[in-house]
Amino acid sequence: MERRDRLVASPWPGRIGWAVAAALPLGFLALFFAWPVLALMATGFTDGGRVTLDALGEVFAQSRTWRVIGQTFAQAVLGTALSVVLGVPAAFVLYRLEFRGRALLRGLATVPFVLPTVVVGVAFTALLGPGAPLEWLGLDQSLAAIVLALAFFNVTVVMRTVGGFWAQLDPRPEQAARMLGASPARVWRTVTLPTLTPAIASAAALVFLFCATSFGVVLVLGGRRFSNIETEIYRLTVQFLDLRSAAVLSLVQFAIVALVLVLSSRLRGRRERSVSLHYSGRATRRPGREHWVAIAVFATTTVLLHALPIATLVWRSLRAPDGSLSLVNYAHLVVPPDGSRLGSTVFEAVGLSLRMAVMAAAIAMVLGLLTAFVVSRRPRSQRLRRLIEVFDGFLMLPLGVSAVTLGFGLLLTMHRPLGIGFDLRTSVVLIPIAQALIALPLVVRTLVPVLRGIEPRLRDAAAMLGAPPLRVLSTVDFAMIRRPIGLALGFAFATSLGEFGATAFLVRPGAQTLPVMVADLIGRQGAEHYGMALAAAVVLGVLTAGVMMVAERWRGDAAGEL
């Protein structure tokens, strides 16, 4: 029975393979995410080795703490509301109407979301700040400016999330309501809006999360008057070395994020239940007169909220300090002006940023692929399925913990990683590690829906044609997500390139990344430095947007949740 011995396969190689695939991302996250973040929390609640809650009382006794928390909520609520109000009409126009150039507009509309926060912050100061064309509005360092900038990013999130759902919606109930005598406004209120509500709510939860943990925008636009928990943590650690108060605020931030995540996962569950009614017929229509409100809102959003700040940024970056048209700001990126005491040139920062982003994207991709493969499995055992859900949730945590907390935690712990006497902080390797952690959830969320969407019987078909398990993985799973992998890679690269919150803690003098450089320049005195900040922001924006525009070409019909 020699043949039989060869045929009978032990289940163990497969089990060990999956265990390793799950253990790698888990280990990475435990070492570079969970430990630093927990260690940071611990500093807030220990004093000379004793556990104490004193810090909690001290921090909450200060009126400034309450003001910061209040401002965080005000900014997040207003930012979310504006994003939803502007995002839903955009979703309608781009996913429900049919017109020439729609694909191009959809591609362009994703750019704001991936633009680095510092670029958008600088663009809004260029539009509203001192010496800016719209200075007379008096919106410099105002709540309105912050809210507008938050909406700048998050209109895209609402548009994508709600639009993707709307595109699959069966239009026949609406038609039925019309035939029963309802006016278009009444149809919208009684049929369409209730159907869309779960999608809108889930998008709003995500947007709230992004707004509440926003760092770069508030740091650049808030000035002295406005801050949020993130910028406050940064201020406490970098300016006052008050680690205990910072740790308490990190905990507050964590609590807010956890609350919103729980809420949004509830909402998402409901949405997934209701999305099950797919409509395969034609749901899009040509634009008509009755759509003018949505079209007008969408056009205004695109022109005033998105195009205007970016155009102003580009236009002003091309002006010399004396107001003439010139490339002097860009020249200064390579050869700094006399008397500027920059640690390195912006040109060098671009090089470092690109190298860091390549490393970060590679790490995020490897870990993200392993995670996505594990998460998309549906084993027979219920206990295993439960375990996979927990695993999935744990790997999404970096999405919830603020980048500032992560960067600060890494700084605290990585002088002796795992007790090994090797100070990781002296090498720049922590930067791509932190960036990879932040990009990881994006990679996973781009790949998992595609992998889950693969018909399971295709794998059965491959096995029945003699393909061993690993070959099934490579010829079916892997082959079918090649394009989404390109998209995820672009996401990871662009995110890493523009990452600011965590990186700000990890750069060293003389080795700064581009976003950190931009923030540094905008904080310096002098028209020359301001001009350089504008030019550097343009370079950073062009790099990230360019990467995303290329990556978007790999977006299939079904790719991704973001």
Binding site: A461, M464, G466, A467
Partner: protein, 251 residues
């Protein structure tokens, strides 16, 4: 399952309480081929939502070169039985044997069986030729021989020269033909066909049934055909077993 079928299913369950097996096993007869002995698959509470129907204590045999039809209303466990024979569904009890050898623990890809799905399940990211050649990739077949085999099979199923087409642009009938060619290419020792024609319209179904019968004869394939169409079973199979509510019914 529609209401009529559900009713038939329930009625059949009442009738077949004292079922007995149709025929002697191959092992007992000293012959060769497939033996299914007391195969049972059941799904516990809280198992997969898309789980098929359960089967209980199913025994039957298929001799080499023979084509057996499994006939019965949908939802009565035919597809589950096929998946159990294929090794895609673990047995709770009983065994599946080939030439008297128990296949317990042999993974689906190593059984040397083929399975053709009701809805083709072609790989959408591969051309027609790549689909047909897929099962040859794991065998040591050189490129020229592989190409020749693909061309031969495409000719056999009436789609000569279709190799470079994308599977997404095929019609329903063409898809089933490609799926058949793909299943036949690695010369499986047993080919299972799960309602291969039921997704097609009447006229096309009759024509393809005749083609299928001829092809299986010509290639000397040992086969199990699952169907709910009596005419199709008569046209293609040597012998018909009726299945009701997860059991083989009395002939």
């Amino acid at each position: 399952m529609n209401q009529g079928e559900a009713a038939a299913c329930a009625a059949a369950e009442a009738v077949t309480t004292n079922e007995e097996e149709g025929g002697v096993t191959n092992a007992e007869a000293g012959g060769s081929g497939l033996d299914v002995l007391g195969a049972t698959v059941h799904y516990g509470a809280g198992s997969r939502i898309d789980a098929g129907a359960a089967i209980a204590d199913v025994s039957f045999a298929v001799a080499r070169g023979e084509i057996v039809a499994l006939l019965g209303p949908s939802g009565c466990g035919k597809s589950t039985l096929l998946r159990a024979v294929a090794g895609l569904e673990p047995l709770s009890a009983g065994s599946v044997r080939w030439n008297g050898e128990d296949l317990m623990g042999v993974p689906p890809h190593a059984r040397g069986f083929g399975l053709m799905f009701q809805d083709a399940q072609l790989f959408p990211h591969m051309s027609v030729a790549k689909n047909v050649a897929y099962g040859l990739r794991w065998r040591r077949v050189d490129r020229a021989a592989r190409d020749a085999r693909v061309a031969e099979l495409l000719g056999l199923v009436g789609l000569p020269g279709a190799g470079e087409r994308a599977v997404t642009e095929l019609s329903g009938g063409e898809r089933q033909r490609v799926a058949l060619a793909r299943s036949l290419a690695p010369k499986p020792r047993l080919l299972m066909l799960d309602e291969p024609l039921s997704s097609l319209d009447r006229a096309l179904r009759d024509r393809l049934a005749a083609d299928l019968a001829r092809l299986l004869r010509e290639t000397g394939t040992t086969g199990i055909l699952v169907t709910h169409d009596e005419g199709e079973a008569d046209a293609i199979a040597d012998r018909t077993l009726r299945m009701r509510a997860g059991r083989i019914a009395v002939p």
